[in-house]
Amino acid sequence: MISLQNVTYQYPKSNRNILNNISGDFLEGEFIAVVGKNGSGKSTLARLLNGLLVPVNGQVIVDSLSTKDRENQIKIRQKVGLLLSSPDNQIIFNLVEEDVAFGPENLGLPTKEIKYRVDAALKMVKMEEFKKHPPYLLSGGQKQKVALAGLLALNPKYLVLDEPTTMLDSQSKQDVIKTILDIKNATNLTVIMITHDLEEVVKADRILILDEGLIKADIKPEEMYDNKAVLSAAGVELPEVTQLIDELNNKGLESLPHNLLTVDELVNELCRLK
């Protein structure tokens, strides 16, 4: 479990509390989406979770290790993998397999173990066949999956994904999200994903809404409609399907429930009405 305990954060030479006394837990196997305006502190939170930043006040506890203790740093970085949105900045080697091996090599693992981990990680992101490819020839989505494999090769317990699909086109976006969901379902990894894409948000177990340094809401995707005032105040729109249901209900389809989150669910529900 990762625990935020009254976490306050301020950047050096600034007097603004980016996060202001926030608390909450991220449990094993959970998939949590974090949303909020530009500048609301999402990436700051991501960096606090893996110890790149440490709270000015309060604590971040990863499996009973505080990120404030320098001696925990290596262990925490290994437990909490952080993926950023720009794939090019995260890939440095000439071959996909070298890139994925970089982390485990740094841990000083035996060659056989490294090889095993690289293969397993590439298999998890379905990129085995690209093992011997130069990364720069891959598409953005494929690069992002290679970067993800690099994190998985460290056997993390938590994945923090900071807008992992922002720079990708729709098809690659869906591919990366599906890969993340498959991994999450096949393992007990905790996935914490920052995104501005509401179609991705609805796939999470839980949604945290950040605004003005606070967690303004902690809700399930199905509860978004009931919390639309909070969402709107925090600059977060409703998913497209939720908006569409509203428009349809205004046309006399009053029985459509607001907890339908995808076009397929909506189409099935409509056909059931008939």
Partner: protein, 282 residues
């Protein structure tokens, strides 16, 4: 006077085993005072096309005319092109550290009065929703990703060029930022500017563009205009492109045999409601 792309072909890594033809005999005209979208999947060639229009890439074949003048002469880009390009990755666009300096940088070549420069910087920051006093002295590298995107756009707006090319401008912007950009683009058009934007969000393009070029495999596959019918969009749906939710819903219902009109959005909603709302609705 428009931007004319005449028979442009471009290949990356020519002469290596990785040679890739990115644009194939592309012909298109961007009309003055219009908002034009370039849409397509990764590696369809849309960013390459935008960079060709900006003169950043010299095509192996064909040429680009801007206001009837060749953009590239003797293999070199003309110096003053009246074209501003916002890059897909803001980091690759920035040259300086301080927000103010970065936005003012392009203006120093325009021989403008210091006072005018300040006015332009302030106005451009305002247009992208950033307060001048809060952001002018900030170091760009420490901005959040959405803030960087906004500064990148402000930098180009400050140049006040006639043509504004935007590569994935909504990536990383929050909901309000996307709405602001929508308004901003409408304003630019109202002020006689021409905007070309690459986006993988067809939904967004449909809201703001006069014309959308669907790029596939280095060529223009089809063109959607504000006069296109929803039937034309059904063809895109069949080709697996992601469309607005109301369209996906109606196309799926039609595929299941429900005959719902595709006149316009209002008719679609009305049609769905009529089919499914039961008999006793008054």
């Amino acid at each position: 006077m428009p931007i004319k792309v005449n028979n442009v072909s471009y290949a990356y890594q020519v002469g290596t085993p990785y040679e890739k033809l990115a644009l194939r005999d592309v012909v298109l005209t961007i009309n003055d005072n219009s908002v034009v979208g370039l849409f397509g999947i990764t590696s369809s060639g849309k960013t390459t096309l935008l960079q060709v229009m900006a003169g950043l890439i010299v095509p192996q074949k064909g040429q680009v005319l801007v206001d009837d003048v060749k953009l590239i002469a003797k293999g070199k880009r003309r110096k003053f092109t009246n074209i501003g390009l916002v890059f897909q990755f803001p980091e690759t666009q920035f040259v300086l550290d301080r927000v103010y300096d970065e936005i003012a940088y392009g203006l120093t070549y325009q021989n403008l009065d210091k006072f005018i420069i300040k006015e332009r910087v302030e106005k451009s920051l305002g247009l992208v929703g950033l307060s001048f006093s809060t952001y002018k002295d900030r170091n760009i590298r420490t901005l959040s990703s959405g803030e960087k995107r906004r500064v990148a756009i402000a930098t180009i707006l400050a140049l006040d060029t006639k043509y504004i090319l935007l590569d994935e401008p909504t990536a990383g912007l929050d909901y309000l930022g996307r709405l602001d950009l929508e308004r901003l683009i409408a304003d630019l058009k109202a002020n006689d500017k021409t905007v070309v934007l690459v986006s993988h969000n067809l939904n967004y393009l449909l809201n703001i563009c006069d014309e959308i070029y669907i790029i596939a495999d280095g060529t223009i596959d089809s063109i959607i205009t504000n006069k296109s019918s929803l039937m034309d969009l059904e063809a895109l749906y069949m080709a697996n492109y992601i469309l607005p939710a109301y369209l996906e819903t109606v196309f799926k219902l039609r595929a299941r045999g429900y005959d719902i009109s595709l006149n316009n959005k209002e008719a679609v909603l009305e049609g769905i409601a009529k089919v499914f709302r039961g008999d006793n609705y008054a």
